[in-house]
Amino acid sequence: MTATLDSAEIPETPDAPEVAVPRRPGTFRRGKGLVGLVLVGLVVAAGLLGPLFVSWDPYQQIPGANLLGPSAAHPLGTDDLNRDILARLLSGIRVDLLISFVAVPVGALIGCAVGAMATVNNTLDIAVQRLFDVLLAFPQLILAIGLAAVLGPGTLSVMIVVVSVEIPIFGRLLRTAVLRVRESPFVTAAQVVGAGKGHVLRVHVLPNSLEPVLVQLALSMSVAVFIEGAMSVLGIGVSPPEPSLGAVLTTSLHYLDLNPLFALGPLAVTAVLVLGFQSIAQAANAARGT
């Protein structure tokens, strides 16, 4: 998983670039962008509307339906606790979407706020940079494991983990972007005519620094799906009986010999969702045209 966006290539104190007016005719109307939107859209639609069309309840234990193979009544079969897998899968999508679309933006917001504030004050900047260094010194999944050890399993824990993983990434990203934009001639011009520090940051610098943040947002959403699944596989994800993509997949791992189709549902949905986010990120990145 690539989690950080070409941060390695951006020098610490870059030359003043010209801030290009973004030209992106139809990034999301063709090619990768369209593919990504369609893939994510499919999963979102399945998660929002799907449960309405399945007559089983994801928690309902159906008498006599233990580990059944696919049939007309249960298209993906039933699991070890006699529950309909399709119903659990579709409800599980909701949990993953909740984590992706709530935890990632929250982490991004906090990270950007910290990153932007740090650029105002030198001492603060050094302190925040050291903090980010330490947080980024943990491989993402290792950080997740450490936090989960403290928090215990559960959906909320997964969300807290995702937020904590994203904060330093977005903080670092926005700080680099702000430092780069701040060297632009139009910022100097604003300062020359007497604009205050806060005003320049808010009105001139920040809006022009957000582009990489938007790309990272899509990338981070795919990372969130990854973290949720990984934590479930390791037994520290959402707590049973709540369904999630990772939880359904983890249960299926014990029965691969018996019914490989059991695993196929969560595998396909996870793959489609992650590939969708990734394609959106790649298309958005290409549209930045730098």
């Binding site: 491989p139 290792i142 699944g229 520290i236 997949l249 691969l256 695993a263």
Partner: protein, 319 residues
């Protein structure tokens, strides 16, 4: 060279120190009395007190931290009460298996990238380009647990040609052909994302190099296209590839935990998982610190290799 290393070492040490403090405090923040949990619900108070003393929990916070740090440096890591045995021994046992797995994955990733990267950069065929784009996107995006389970289903359930879990029964070096059979699925699974990222970066950098003036000069001199890519452009692209590889060390470490869990590979990752599920915090603490230390050291090492490969950085550092 050594001057460059000296310049970079302090910040790495600082990060390691802060990370150790963070890990120590976070593990201490877990609610509940570790000694009471270990002793069990019916234990008399003197047993709890004895365990508390044994764990060093009756010392001050700073004292506990220094004791732990000293243990880390001398290798005396204490006992694991829940899994059983000396922590240092447990870690030692797992480390061997994890190193074998990670190295195999690394070799696969580098070989794939060295093969596909130049091909992608130099190809003029639209279909090759599309195929490699698809490979890159899939390899980078698909989580390890998805590819791992697919590999198990294909090679272990449908075709039944390869073992899907565990390590060779008679040790890694008894029969190399059997070891290879056990190793191939987990190693491919772990190496695939790294291979994808590395291939992408290598191809990207190579394309940049191929646009440089010196390439035009070499081409004008009549050197074959293949030799230009492999003999000239690759040399310029290698430093970036090395840095990318270093940054991927984190993905490898985190991925190893997952892959070991999926393929039942008894390494450090499986140990972490056991430690977490059985709430063996002294063990988890050591393993977290170990992975951060490896990650930081690999990045430091990467920077040094990068500087060694790229004189611009080395000389820039000394000036």
């Amino acid at each position: 060279m050594s001057r460059y290393l000296l310049r970079r070492a302090p910040s790495a040490l600082l990060v390691l120190f802060l990370a150790s403090v963070l890990i120590f405090l976070v593990i201490r923040a877990i609610p509940g009395d570790a000694a009471a949990v270990l002793a069990g619900p019916d234990a008399p108070p003197e047993v709890v007190a004895a365990i508390r003393h044994d764990l060093g929990l009756d010392r001050s916070l700073v004292g506990q931290y220094l004791h732990w740090l000293g243990g880390l440096l001398t290798g005396e890591l204490g006992r694991s009460y829940l899994i059983g045995g000396d922590i240092a021994e447990l870690v030692g046992d797992g480390l061997g298996n994890t190193v074998v797995l990670t190295l195999a994955a690394l070799v696969i990733a580098v070989l794939v990238a060295l093969l596909l990267g130049p091909l992608w950069a130099a190809t003029r065929s639209r279909w090759v380009d599309r195929a490699l784009t698809a490979f890159h996107t899939a390899a980078v995006a698909l989580p390890t647990f998805v590819t791992g389970v697919v590999l198990i289903i294909v090679f272990g359930v449908v075709f039944r040609v390869l073992p899907t879990g565990g390590v060779p029964p008679d040790g890694m070096f008894d029969r190399l052909d059997i070891t290879a059979q056990y190793l191939v699925l987990p190693a491919v699974c772990l190496g695939l994302p790294v291979a994808g990222v590395l291939t992408g970066f290598l191809a990207e950098t190579l394309r940049g190099e191929l646009r440089q003036d010196y390439v035009t000069t070499v081409r004008a001199a009549g050197v074959r296209r293949r030799d230009i890519v492999l003999g000239h452009a690759l040399r310029g692209a290698l430093p970036v590839a090395v840095t990318t590889l270093g940054l991927q060390a984190g993905a490898l470490l985190g991925g190893a935990v997952l892959v070991e869990s999926i393929f039942a590979w008894p390494g450090l990752g499986l140990l972490v998982e056991q430690g977490i599920t059985r709430r063996d915090y002294p063990l988890v603490q050591v393993l977290l610190m170990l992975s951060v230390a490896v990650f930081v050291l690999v990045q430091l090492f990467t920077d040094v290799v990068h500087a060694w490969l790229d004189p611009r950085i080395r000389l820039g550092a000394t000036s």
